[in-house]
Symmetry: C2
Subunit: 360 residues, 2 copies
Amino acid sequence: MEINENLLKNIRKVEPYVPGEQPQNKVVKLNTNENPYPPAPGVQKALRELEYDRFRLYPDPTAKNLVDILAKYYHVGNDQVFVGVGSDDVLAMCFLTFFNSEKPVLFPDITYSFYKVWAGLYGIPYECPKLDGDFRIQREDYYRDNGGIIFPNPNAPTAIYEELEFIEDILRHNQDVIVIVDEAYIDFAGRSALELLAKYQNLIVVQTFSKARSMAGMRIGYAIGDPELVKCLNDVKYSFNSYTLNLPSLICGAEAVKDREYFEKVISEIVDTREWTKKELRGLGFEFPDAKANFIFAAHPDYNGEELFQALKRENIYVRHWNSERIGQYLRISIGTKEEMGILFDSLKRYISKQGDYNL
Amino acid sequence: MEINENLLKNIRKVEPYVPGEQPQNKVVKLNTNENPYPPAPGVQKALRELEYDRFRLYPDPTAKNLVDILAKYYHVGNDQVFVGVGSDDVLAMCFLTFFNSEKPVLFPDITYSFYKVWAGLYGIPYECPKLDGDFRIQREDYYRDNGGIIFPNPNAPTAIYEELEFIEDILRHNQDVIVIVDEAYIDFAGRSALELLAKYQNLIVVQTFSKARSMAGMRIGYAIGDPELVKCLNDVKYSFNSYTLNLPSLICGAEAVKDREYFEKVISEIVDTREWTKKELRGLGFEFPDAKANFIFAAHPDYNGEELFQALKRENIYVRHWNSERIGQYLRISIGTKEEMGILFDSLKRYISKQGDYNL
């Protein structure tokens, strides 16, 4: 049945974000930057002890247990912490709450592709200063008049981390607009912009449970900022959906934060594997910016990125590839276990040696 | 530290929805229409068997297992089912997706108070035709030019259910706009508008796991409609947050749908308690529209609504009360267990007899 044209007239048309594939069969999955290790053991215990009959009641809309434990962990007030259904939900709320100027919001041309999607969804004007030839953000590009700024640190998908002095420079030049630093990968990288909160009211730091805390499947993200900004975020959130985080997320999320030792062990294991992966990839002739996240953004000067991507996929190794300007040669490779990375290297070696044969 | 005025200038200001209180201590909680019975036993089993190490992976963004089982249960295509984080998330997405006309969206003056909040959040114009003196929706009010229609059936907080012939009349008069029937309480009431889907492309039916399925704590809601409309909803959802329902919701949600027998037993128990509650309240002199939901919207001609509400609260019995025009005399009383309702009746009797003393 053909649908009535009038009916379609007032429906919002959007170009949706396309997430990385989620293959359901047995594969080496290095395509969505998931953590290869399970969450903290306390999460398992909390899940075991969770009483299913509590599901009949609404969860605490203020997510107090989770907010309090995050505030304590990061040494901020509990009126400075906003939680949501993954950092995507938190970032979407930030766009809706903070980016209401007629001036363009600024973010890099090569970055997390969801920023463009949110701007499109809410009709927010934006401009995308180009990364330089080494995929670095040029701080001077962010000194002009704008309606707000957002960028990840480390940036995605380049994995490049900028030092706090760089972040502070951008904050200092933009004290009349909100600057969001999206720190999804900060735990693998270096110092967090959280240190700058005491000095800059215009800073919002967004982090997630999906990467270093091994909880992508639970959908938990958070923003930390000035209490007044967090109040604005909560007002918008309560205008959207009062009860977002469900009971298992509230309970298991809090447990995950409690275990600092396990958290640091997992991070150090992944960083260790990443450094080994860099060495191996370099040995195979790959080139990449120095990666500080749980992924590496690598290209090989002799082989086509798309073909490499497809060749790996045929061997059930999933990495991420975009057919986009400037980055079509690159693969974004998540850091898995050492065993998984070994399988990747073997496959790459086979591919390279085969191409060698053809080239003879 | 006083916040920079320029910083606040471009921040969205909203009047957030105020959810019912969620007291944490031991109380008789009849204020947010929760189900007094636990979810289906299969949910407990699924929760027990859930492997916490799967939390490290993103959940299926298409929520296929849940969508498929809902489609099968309601005899619709799986391209006709959209799922979200509670029906509030689903409804918020519907507002964003479907209500983009310059003409006002129509909903009743007395209804679910979130409709006004979403319209405010997205800057959607709206008008609120008045319910009549018996709190009934006047269908003729919805025959005029408009940008879309939404109302709950049964309506909230009145608990009045309208027959399908009434719904169909509104659908027939509005074939160029989307009509959303919010059926959060339909399982306690009567026939669902889902029956009309085959005839009306402009119909979206929204339901929830929070009431009859005892899963308020898990945050699961869904919309069913024409495949083309569901595609538009999904496009907007993927532009907002690709991964919304977390793993426990996907798994436990599907389990809850499987057990039709338990579902029907719980509903029949609640309906039974509701009918008994009606008799008891009538005996105490309360007046109310015929309630078809899991709550009753009742007022007493001799006692002030606000005072009654406070008196019950002092005895740790929570019901819902709004200090609003036309409904300030009313209490919305959720249907709990027979034991909980007995405690309520005893408290009301004490209150009434005390007032009698004062009146001597």
